[in-house]
């Protein structure tokens, strides 16, 4: 568990995600809306029947990137609290792999922030899934995260 300055919750978990606990974590009397995103394992991929998925992460970097997403949510949207949790390891069909909950006094910010969080997570957080089928397994097609372009002046962060 990694609480933040806003009492947000960011986690990578190997156990099932407790959705109700996350929703209640972000809920407070000053809020009027909670928007959630529940991403779960589909039973097919590219026309083939999926048996299960196996997720792996570069855990230290993935958690750091999830924290960055959370910080950006508070900068960009008038929200109250966010919870972003991703599960790792083997997941069966129908199990939740990622869950995001955002609370806010008013619904537009909660909708916008939740959408921003899942879209950014899928593009920038170093997590990978391997899809297992009856006749083999493949690493899922993914998105290449935006990285700094090489320039003669490029310097490493200290």
């Amino acid at each position: 568990m990694t609480p933040s300055a806003h009492d947000d919750l960011y986690q990578l978990l190997r156990d099932p995600i407790d959705i109700a606990a996350l929703v209640s974590h972000v809920r407070a009397p000053g809020d009027g809306a909670i928007v959630t995103f529940d991403g779960f394992v589909r039973d097919h991929s590219h026309g083939r029947r999926t048996l299960y998925l196996d997720y792996e992460a570069y855990e230290s970097m993935a958690l750091a990137k999830i924290h960055e997403i959370g910080a950006t949510l508070h900068e960009k949207f008038p929200i109250h609290r966010a919870a972003i949790v991703h599960r790792l390891g083997r997941l069966q069909i129908g199990e939740t792999s990622v869950f995001i909950a955002v609370s806010a006094p008013h619904r537009p910010a909660a909708f916008d922030a939740c959408r921003y969080a899942i879209d950014t997570l899928k593009r920038t957080v170093p997590i990978w899934k391997k899809e297992y089928f009856e006749d083999g397994a493949v690493w899922a097609d993914g998105e290449l995260p935006p990285a700094p372009a090489a320039t003669p002046a490029a310097k490493p962060a200290s």
């Binding site: 170093p126 990978w128 003669p152």
Partner: protein
């Protein structure tokens, strides 16, 4: 007598299909001090030529931050080679 060659040790991590291809999740390698992330990847391409075709679909990181390919290596760096991400 020649001076000892200047080398630094870096930790290298592979994920997803790169881990399968290299056969390692984690490696430690001694490298020349003036080398870049690109040259480090090149050293693994030399060992495993099939890696070359993934070069355009890999992003590198240095100490948990995305890094340009010409980022210089420093002693103790943790460099990772990341295939396209597919979380969610």
């Amino acid at each position: 007598m020649l001076p000892a060659a200047q080398t630094i040790r870096v930790k290298v991590l592979f994920f997803g299909r790169l881990k399968d291809l290299v056969g390692l999740r984690e490696d430690c390698i001694d490298f020349s001090t003036d080398a870049t992330v690109e040259q480090l990847f090149g050293a693994y391409v030399h060992r495993i030529p099939e890696l070359a075709k993934y070069r355009s679909s890999v992003v590198a990181s240095r100490n948990q931050e995305f890094a340009a390919w010409n980022t210089p290596l420093h002693a103790g760096d943790e460099i990772a080679f990341l295939p396209p991400v597919s979380g969610g």
